[in-house]
């Protein structure tokens, strides 16, 4: 099968890591997956194609903004591929009722906003796929989409020196509440017992200048002074090819998650990248959520209550946590490999 992903290709965010894995693994399985576009040196591991006509299916990978689906880009795709051969992967849960989680994170500013989104969706395809194990809307097909890449696993023998005790890799987009109310108080409590800490990603130093105009001040909320007080280093994001090696520079990596994604149980690349790295992956999910993805051993990786104690425990009992991570990897290999993901995608499109 030949599948074309039409997506907003950005080197340091979104689903780009997953797309690279689909391209690579599909080839091993006798399929062809490419990203709509022309070859681009910023994306060395991706196959690009603009020959839309040669593909059997088009999958629009749609995140929380849609300006990239411009009137210049989309008509060409729609005219080349009939509707029944198009699907939407709704990565950010836009195909849901409008919701505000904890009066903080939300998918739509207004019902008008939602109706415009859904008008776009109706135009693109009937088939909606969501990377969740539990879709909320009828007609949505669950397709976890993101997966574990055993080939990317960084071995402890080849790993870089551990420069950081704690790393958090991810942009400050709807994460500040979780970080400021759970993670930072824990770090504050045990700061003298910790070495270097680093947050890598956009907007940990300051919100973007356009945040106010976008009505998204809360999404980018940050207190750089508090981070400085806690001696937390802030670094810009790295390209997707460097995410797992970078994570491997931390003894512990903490995965934070925006509330909306937790509410809809949406998976992301980060769920799996953090396990591919040579690090102790701790995820800010409740134990049941962690188990649903990572298997029974995953409960031990949940950073949910008693955060400070858990961080210290992980640092002091490295070998125990390495064993837990090892168990989790075995589970992911069995249940969440990209081989399985490609099969699921092919099935979803053929159904």
């Amino acid at each position: 099968m030949k599948i074309l992903f039409v997506m907003d290709t950005r080197v340091d965010r979104g689903s780009i890591q997953a797309a690279a894995n689909y391209v690579r693994v599909a080839e091993k399985m006798g399929h062809v997956i490419a990203i709509y576009g022309h070859p681009n040196p910023d994306f060395p591991s991706l196959r690009f194609s603009a020959d839309i006509h040669t593909f059997d299916y088009v999958v629009f990978i749609i995140e929380g903004w849609r300006r990239w689906m411009s009137g210049l880009r989309v008509p060409r795709v729609l005219s080349a591929v009939p509707r029944e051969r198009r699907a939407i992967l709704d990565t950010d849960g836009m195909y849901n009722q409008a919701i505000s989680v904890d009066s903080y994170d939300f998918n739509y500013l207004s019902e008008q906003d939602r109706s415009e989104w859904l008008a776009h969706y109706r135009l693109l395809a009937d088939r909606i796929l969501q990377p969740t194990l539990a879709p909320h809307q009828p007609g949505v097909r669950s397709l976890p989409f993101y997966g574990y890449d055993a080939d990317a696993q960084v071995s402890c023998h080849t790993s870089f020196a551990k420069r950081f005790d704690i790393l958090q890799v991810g942009h400050n987009w709807w994460r500040w509440r979780q970080v400021s109310e759970s993670l930072l108080p824990a770090i504050e409590k045990i700061r003298p017992q910790l070495g270097e800490i680093c947050f890598v990603g956009l907007w940990w130093d300051a919100p973007p200048s356009r945040a106010g105009g976008m009505n998204f001040e809360a999404a980018f909320c940050v207190d750089p002074e508090r981070l400085r007080r806690l001696q937390i280093e802030v670094k810009p994001p790295v390209p997707y090819t460097q995410v797992i090696p970078l994570m491997s520079e931390g003894r512990i990596n903490v995965m934070t998650q925006r509330p909306l994604f937790r509410h809809f149980k949406l998976l992301t690349s980060k769920y799996f990248e953090i396990v591919s790295a040579d690090t102790i992956p701790l995820v800010m999910l409740d134990p049941a959520e962690a188990e649903s993805v990572y298997g029974p051993a995953g409960r031990e990786l949940a950073l949910h209550g008693g955060v400070a104690d858990k961080l210290l425990d992980a640092l002091h009992h490295t070998e125990t946590y390495r064993q837990i991570a090892h168990e989790v990897r075995r589970h992911l290999l069995a249940h969440h490999s990209y081989f399985r993901r490609v099969q699921e995608l092919v099935e979803a499109l053929q159904t």
Binding site: D8, G37, H38, A50, R67, W68, M69, S70, G71, L72, R73, V74, P75, R76, L78, S79, E116, A119, H120, R122, L123, L124, P208, S209, R210
Partner: protein
């Protein structure tokens, strides 16, 4: 003919004046021209329509990607108007291989997320009939169509002679003008030329009175330009301060002529890309409607072919300060050129003529 114009309207930018003129000229010539979309009070003088089936042709006026309507509307347009009845006016030379001139380019992937190939293939997906407001398209499959034009009825003040104009301009009969130099336009890819202009007039700064720049980006480099690493929207506030240059926000299109009329001089710059592509803009023509002496800081080829041979005298070339000084000493001679150029523009570049050219293209 029933003509549907598809464009994003902005009272401060893009082709709002040109579109207004097409609606008027079309009506005068017995055609029906509407803008695609729902009627909006802010553009109350423009007829709007969503009745796609009622139109013979759709003319897409494209500057940016968001000049295309939102997708559901666009899909209806493409479904209901056959391809051969769609035309694109490519106002920024997007339908070319990528061209880089100084900091300027026809494709800014950092800003709109689209590479050059996608502009070419995307525009071709909408229509085979692509027009550019240029004297000489680079591609063989583009037709030259200047699109913008001159409206003689919009001239701020008509004069029966150059002597009368010079007298009014000098303040003898019409009061003193509040500005020496007024420039209207955003600081998008203009700074290199503006800097050169300001440095050149520095020796005669005290003779000029107020210098005023209207448009966004003249007071400071926008934050987004710094964040994205986009050049060509630079500014040197020290230079502006030293020359006592006033900067103000842009003015709406219906106040453009009166704004320029406040000044003795109004320079016409085109962005470097447009100079290279020999493109014209609304301001190329509109400045001659103002009660001012236009300074043509444009390529010679464009000056001659648009404004006629007389207009060369309005081009300062390398000695701007001398030219301004000379105009101030001999205003009648220069106003004679301005008045002749207005007549030339009225004869060759009126919107009535433009509209007829468009009809010929559509019917061919």
């Amino acid at each position: 003919m029933n003509l549907l114009l598809v464009a994003k309207l902005d009272r401060y930018a893009r082709a709002i004046n040109t579109i207004t003129q097409y609606v008027r000229a079309g009506k005068d010539l017995g055609h029906n021209v509407s803008v695609f979309g729902e009627w909006r009070s802010e553009f109350s003088w423009l007829p709007h329509s969503l009745e796609i089936g009622a139109f013979d042709f759709a003319v897409f006026v494209i500057y940016e990607t968001d000049d295309f309507p939102e997708l559901p509307h666009l899909a209806r347009l493409l479904d209901d108007i056959p391809r051969e009845r769609r035309v694109i006016v490519d106002c920024c030379g997007r339908y070319n291989d990528t061209v880089q001139v100084e900091h300027d380019s026809n494709h800014f992937q950092k800003l709109d997320g689209h590479h050059g190939w996608e502009w070419i293939e995307g525009l071709r997906a909408v229509s085979d009939n692509i027009l550019q407001p240029t004297l000489r398209p680079l591609r063989g499959d583009v037709r030259p169509f200047r699109f913008h034009g001159y409206d003689p009825t919009a001239v701020a003040r008509s004069y029966s002679s150059a002597g009368e104009a010079a007298s009014a301009w000098s303040g003898a009969t019409n009061g003193v003008k509040p500005c020496g130099v007024a420039y209207l336009g955003s600081n998008w890819q203009r700074w290199t030329q503006m800097r050169r202009f300001l440095e050149a007039i520095e020796p005669i700064r005290d003779k000029l009175g107020t210098i005023r720049l209207a448009g966004w980006g003249w007071d400071q480099r926008p934050d987004w330009a710094s964040e994205l690493g986009v050049s060509g929207v630079d500014v040197d506030t020290t230079l502006l301060g030293r020359l006592r240059v006033e900067t103000t926000p842009g003015v709406t299109f219906d106040n453009a002529i009166s704004f320029m009329s406040q000044a003795h001089f109004s320079p016409i710059f085109h962005r470097p890309l447009f100079n290279y592509l020999c493109f014209v803009t609304n301001r190329t023509f509109e400045t001659f409607c103002a009660d001012t002496i236009p300074l043509l800081i444009l390529p010679d080829q464009l000056i001659e072919s648009i404004y006629g041979p007389e207009a060369r005298l309005l081009a300062p070339h390398e000695d701007l300060a001398w030219k301004l000084d000379d105009i101030m000493r001999h205003p009648e001679m220069y106003w004679d050129v301005v008045l002749k150029t207005r007549r030339h523009l009225a004869q060759h570049h009126s919107y009535r003529k433009r509209f007829q050219e468009l009809v010929t293209i559509l019917e061919s």
